[in-house]
Symmetry: C2
Subunit: 356 residues, 2 copies
DNA sequence: GTGAAAGCGCTAACAT
DNA sequence: ATGTTAGCGCTTTCAC
């Protein structure tokens, strides 16, 4: 076979029109499902479409329409299961409504986030699903406001005065984690997180601390929060343990923190749950394959994506009213990495678990 | 602040033209960097652009040009680190060339793959980077050929008679894994994989088996290959072990297989590397945080993405010549999950490793 | 019921 | 050196 790819022109609406013996306008009407077209004309149009393999050019179509059927999605990264699933969901929902999703990664940079947004504005997207790097008060949201863009904010947000928001109910989930850990007898717990993501990190931390102290006022909750990146967090954590601190449990407020905590345990030769317990915000597939399986807070990706798209399309279609702020409930999966302090070997190998 | 988003019309090229006192064509020329424009006119155009905050509408621009500056990317999934990184890379490379990347997930379905491709064809994308669900002989590649589309095939492909291909050098990497395992004394090794992805799975299997048998002809290489999905593989693996088979090492040909193997080990209470060794094709961040750290073949994502885009743009710009088939070398990271059979506790906790 | 005409925002020939 | 003209492929009044 030849590698030369013959680039013959695709059939246009005019080709269909002339073959069917009608005008382009009529073809357009037939395709739009207008019922006032004479049946045999409609039939000839359908035949011509079939024979020519005609398909509308969405670009040209959008060009003429007021709004373009493109949705932009901006995620901080694509590498994690959470955002991967999110993009998959969003794409599928956009497609269902006849829209094309253009996804871009801000790679955890607010500067890039705004650049991407500007490019999407150039494309005159109908709407944007933005998962901001930090929170709802960043430059990206400001850009959207300034340019009258339609959008929904998800994940690292709480609520906004201009845009609908949808995120996991971090506070409630963290409260439940607190209940579990306190219930198992933990009274010295370390919380690790990344401070920059203010919106959700604060909610998670507060939700956890408040409940823990309420249930057991003598509980000691230590906090190791790094400002921006993962490496400083690793260093701070190392310092913390080097000082001789020996909490009986660690609650990580985000996925990478869980990984950092785990590798610090490795370094020190500590095993979960005998030497220390671990729970992380954000679940991942591997967490139930390892030994011990890692306890985690599962974020409701489908619900977040679903409600985000619902809210977005409501606005695109002209929906009025004050911005809504949704919080979707999470599921807390207690696995073998959590035990009771002082009791050796309460983690037993079991068949891998299944989510409800 | 009002939630009502004012959707004022954006400045068009004509707005700029009239403000600068020139024609739209001149504005277009200025923006294209044509040097034959009178300096003071050019300056007034720049001023007008600045004042109006004008930016070209890429849709309208593409409409008029022959080729559209859109690249389509189709991945089997977005949930894994590998494809997540791949999309990030591709997006960044497309952007560098002034193209927009539209990414879609085929969700491991060849039917969906073709549908997406048809939609991308409707968009008249300049080119497509396709990571096929199965291999280069699927319906998607056929569709691209039939419609004269420009594209590059990556990942689960070896070589094609119509399209350039870029993938990891599965065979060499697998040979190296064989060398390592044989070198450590393993003589009964189980290989697990998913058969449908014929192209790469065969290369990995053959590369491994050939080298293993060459180095130690008495080696027993068992193979558990499921046809389509992960669950049957889990079942087959369970049967295999239930029969009393006791290989000293397992080599998984893909990420999910590594996860399945790990959870089977869990179920049976086997620990790596004392009870059994494990190496997986495809690395993931968590693999160096667990205890033991899991040995893995690291695919060169950046190289694959880079060469794929290079090849694609060469074709887009009219490059001729027979299709090329690139194989990018992998890195094999031996970690604690691999030991020597019969030697207990040769896995020692070490600081987390760093990739080169 | 249907088609002619206008035009979305832009660029590439072709004049001037 | 610049403007005029003519579309890209489609949809949408608005006449007929």
């Amino acid at each position: 076979m030849a590698h030369r790819q013959d680039q013959q022109r695709r059939a246009s609406i005019h080709d269909v029109a002339s073959r069917a013996g009608v005008s382009a306008a009529t073809v357009s009407k037939v395709m739009a499902g207008v019922t006032t077209v004479k049946p045999d004309n409609a039939q000839r149009v359908f035949d011509a479409i079939e024979q020519l393999g005609y398909r509308v050019d969405p670009l040209a179509s959008d060009m003429r329409r007021a709004k373009r059927r493109i949705i932009g999605a901006i995620m901080p990264e694509f590498e994690s299961e959470f955002f991967g699933q999110m993009v998959t969901q969003l794409e599928s929902l956009a497609e269902q409504r006849g829209y094309t999703l253009v996804a871009a990664s801000s790679r955890e940079s607010e500067a890039r986030e705004t650049e991407i947004l500007a490019r999407m504005h150039d494309w005159r997207v109908a709407g944007v699903v933005l998962a901001p790097v930090r929170n709802e008060h960043g430059p990206a949201a400001a850009f959207m406001k300034a340019n009258g863009m339609t959008g929904v904010l998800i994940d690292r947000v709480l609520s906004d005065d201009a845009f609908d928001t949808v995120s996991a109910d971090s506070a409630s989930a963290s409260a439940e984690v607190a209940r579990e850990l306190i219930g198992k007898g933990h009274r010295h717990i370390l919380v690790v997180g990344l401070g920059e993501q203010a919106a959700t990190v604060r909610a998670r931390l507060d939700g956890f601390r408040t409940t823990a102290l309420q249930l057991a006022p003598d509980t000691r909750v230590d906090v190791v929060l790094a400002e921006t990146d993962v490496d400083p967090l690793r260093a701070q954590l190392r310092d913390y343990f080097a000082k001789g601190e020996r909490p009986t449990a660690v609650y990580s407020l985000f996925l990478k923190g869980t990984l950092v905590a785990l590798s610090e345990f490795r370094r020190r030769g500590w095993h979960c749950p005998n030497d220390i317990s671990l729970v992380g915000f954000d679940d991942a597939e591997w967490m139930q394959a390892t030994w011990p399986a890692i306890a985690a807070v599962v974020q409701p990706v489908r619900q977040i994506a679903g409600h985000a798209m619902e809210a977005l399309f409501a606005r695109i279609e002209g929906g009025e009213g004050p911005p809504t702020a949704r919080l979707e409930p999470c599921q807390v999966l207690m696995r073998e990495s959590v035990g009771s302090p002082g009791f050796a070997d309460n983690g037993v190998a079991t068949a891998h678990d299944h989510r409800g």
